[in-house]
């Protein structure tokens, strides 16, 4: 009853192509964003930020980036970790090298550097596709991690090999370093991901999104109707790496504080890929849903048994986690290969008719 479009007529193409054509959607999303900005800092404990909200906002950004590349442009990438590392180490060098630089600017420049590296490693995509491209991205993943491990300049020759985020303020509030409050860090990360989501949605419903999806669906036909494949693919790599680079920088500055290359190895590449697949390839919303799934699931698995009164030894828990995780992935792929976003879409379509069956 509530979710009806009656009375909402579109009188211009602009209205018809709006992000949220249905008024209820618009309202709901705006409310959600407002809640996300206001409620946690006021109500939630630090645990929530460290365990859930910060990884969620940061990894959503990375998932958004990967979704652009793999979900919309159809280029499978297993190198997300490498690009995040580029962002992280660039930000570190910039922040330690030019202390006066505003942290937001640092992030943006780090993102641009990651984008440049992304373009370089995306060049093979003109000649190779599918699995083969995935393998090429693995080459970039392994090489980049090795590079940041080996070349001392990247971590200012710190003997332990880690990089630590220096304290920085924004508008007078500490946002990185040991003094920074989780609330402040969360707001910064949330701001980045909200702006990124809006920008991505705009890109994806316009010219660029269409050329990406055309390349994804039928790249030969796309080229024949005039789409320039190299330009389109490289743009995808650039934008994707830009977002992943910022996410990597955020990981160090806003979340972990201190990081070594291990944080950016193949494990995180797979993690982000799962987020995109489970959330839904080719869906902005899906990136968020997938990130939520991957971040929340281990926490649920850890907390539900005690809640039910079962005591499970840690080692067993780890094994069970792996099994359930793997099982859920397969389950999702069988039940809804288009991911949670599609399930949400189906729910909305049912809601539009509710309480009628059809």
């Amino acid at each position: 009853m509530l979710y009806r479009e009656t009375g909402q007529f579109k009188t211009s193409y602009a209205d018809d192509q709006a992000i949220f054509p249905i008024a209820q959607d618009r309202f709901a999303v705006l409310a959600l964003v407002a809640v996300a900005f206001l409620v946690p800092p006021l109500l939630f404990s630090n645990y929530w930020f460290e365990a859930i909200l910060l990884p969620l906002t940061i990894l959503s950004l990375a998932a958004l980036g990967l979704n652009l590349l793999t979900g919309y442009a159809g280029q499978i990438s297993l190198g997300t970790g490498g690009f995040m590392a580029v962002g992280a180490y660039s930000a570190f060098k910039l922040a330690t090298g030019i202390p006066e630089l505003n942290l937001i600017v640092v992030f943006l420049i780090a993102g641009l550097l990651a984008a440049a590296v992304g373009v370089v490693f995306g060049l093979p995509s003109l000649r190779i596709k599918g699995f083969y491209l995935a393998v090429a991205t693995l080459a970039s993943q392994f090489f980049l991690v090795w590079l940041f491990n080996k070349v001392g300049w990247f971590y200012n020759n710190n003997p332990s090999g880690t990089i630590t985020a220096p304290p920085r303020t924004l508008f007078g509030i500490m946002i990185s370093g040991p003094e920074a409050s989780p609330q402040a860090r969360y707001i910064v990360a949330l701001a980045f991901v909200t702006v990124a989501a809006l920008a991505c949605k705009n890109l994806v419903r316009g010219r660029i999104g269409r050329s990406w999806m055309a390349i994804r669906d039928m790249d030969i036909a796309a080229e024949i109707i005039g789409i320039r494949p190299l330009r389109t693919k490289l743009l995808a790599f650039a934008l994707s790496s830009f977002l992943c680079g910022i996410a990597g920088a955020e990981l160090v500055f806003l979340y972990l504080g201190s990081v070594e290359t291990l944080a950016f190895d193949i494990t995180i590449s797979f993690q982000v890929l799962f987020m995109v697949i489970i959330g839904g390839l080719g869906s902005i919303l899906g990136s968020f849903l997938g990130a939520a799934f991957i971040v929340l699931m281990p926490i649920l698995l850890t907390n539900i048994p005690p809640a039910l009164g079962l005591a499970i030894p840690i080692a067993l828990q780890k094994h069970l986690e792996l099994m359930i995780f793997g099982g859920l992935i397969v389950f999702f792929l069988i039940v809804e290969p288009h991911g949670l976003a599609r399930l949400w879409q189906i729910t909305k379509e049912k809601l539009r008719l509710w309480p009628f069956p059809h």
Partner: protein
């Protein structure tokens, strides 16, 4: 400038300076390469026969090895002395791998028939996680030695006299090479000559078409995954004997990918040749170039080589050329 010149010329100078050592590095590389080939073989099998890139091949190696030593420990603790415990555990493990193939076919492959390749690929990653947890749940996650001497393979070395010096080769490595050779020959015959082999190639080409001409997809898949499981077991025995049965075995999938690129995803001999090239290449790069460039080059050398191949010969040395049609 000097450093760069050094970096390019230096390694070659080193090689020429001590040819016996160079040969030894090559031989070590060949042996390492054989190990890679064993893992790659499993991939090729499944890809050739069902078009699925089985990321779980690595973890299947781990799972097979875990089950083998697990059963061996059980038999040993039961006091079995009439026959080396490895023999019955080998038999039981083969059965376990076949059961695994059945389970995978029923629970994962059948519901996903005709889905695009990436979905199937992701599902094998899901299987990887599941098997990793399951294997460690059953048998424990600690590192276990693999008592290969029970098969009659000693831990001795053979020495080959070359030039003025000698090159040492471990018995285990030679056994691995022989095993690999036998497997390759058997598989090549299987695919080319038998009726089932032909059916497998049809299935790899097009699931639906194969179904429509009456090929029993279910049986085919169980057969293929069982054989791949046995190949994984062979690889598991060899790797486990060399470095103990441990979690890192599951990462073998990642090491096998460049081998497949070089050899071609669909070629059985390609898996061997690719493995040997990667093995030798890695060892040479690591031994001769790391003094100049930095250590641990082997982390990415194989992938770098694969990338070069991808750009110039994506189908690999032995794979089939892909011609696109509109």
């Amino acid at each position: 400038m000097d450093a760069i010149a050094n970096g390019i010329v230096g390694p070659f100078a080193d090689m020429v300076a001590d040819p016996v050592f160079f040969l030894e590095v090559i031989v070590t590389g060949l042996m390492a390469g054989v190990m890679y080939s064993l893992v790659a073989l499993g991939f090729v099998l499944i890809f050739k026969a069902s078009g699925v890139f089985n990321f779980a091949q690595g973890v299947m190696v781990l799972f097979a090895a875990l089950t083998l030593v697990g059963f061996e420990a059980v038999f040993r603790s039961m006091g079995l002395t009439a026959v080396p415990p490895m023999i019955p555990s080998l038999a039981l493990t083969v059965i376990a791998m076949v059961a695994l193939a059945f389970a995978i076919e029923r629970l994962v492959l059948r519901p996903l028939v005709n889905q695009p390749d990436i979905i199937l690929f992701m599902s094998t990653i899901g299987i990887t996680f599941f098997l990793e947890g399951f294997g460690e749940l059953l048998w424990g996650g600690d590192v276990k030695p693999l008592p290969i001497e029970q098969f009659g393979v000693g831990s001795g070395r053979y020495s080959i006299k070359i030039g003025g010096g000698q090159v040492l080769v471990q018995e285990i490595d030679l056994t691995a090479a022989v095993v690999a050779g036998v497997l390759v020959a058997a598989l090549a015959v299987f695919f080319q000559r038998t009726r089932i082999g032909r059916a497998l190639r049809a299935v790899a080409d097009d699931h639906q078409a194969a179904l429509s001409v009456g090929i029993p997809l279910k049986h085919i898949w169980v057969i293929v995954w069982s054989v791949a499981g046995v190949v994984a077991l062979a690889a598991g025995i060899m790797w486990g004997a060399k470095s103990g049965v441990q979690f890192s075995l599951s990462l073998l999938a990642l090491r096998a990918l460049p081998v497949l690129i070089l050899g071609g995803f669909t070629s059985v001999p390609g898996a061997i040749v690719g493995g040997l090239i990667i093995g030798v290449g890695e060892k040479i790069a690591e031994t001769f170039w790391s003094p100049y460039v930095g250590s641990a080059i082997e982390n990415w050398f194989a992938y770098g080589l694969a990338l070069v191949f991808l750009l110039f010969r994506p189908q690999g040395l032995f794979g089939e050329r892909i011609i696109e049609r509109v």
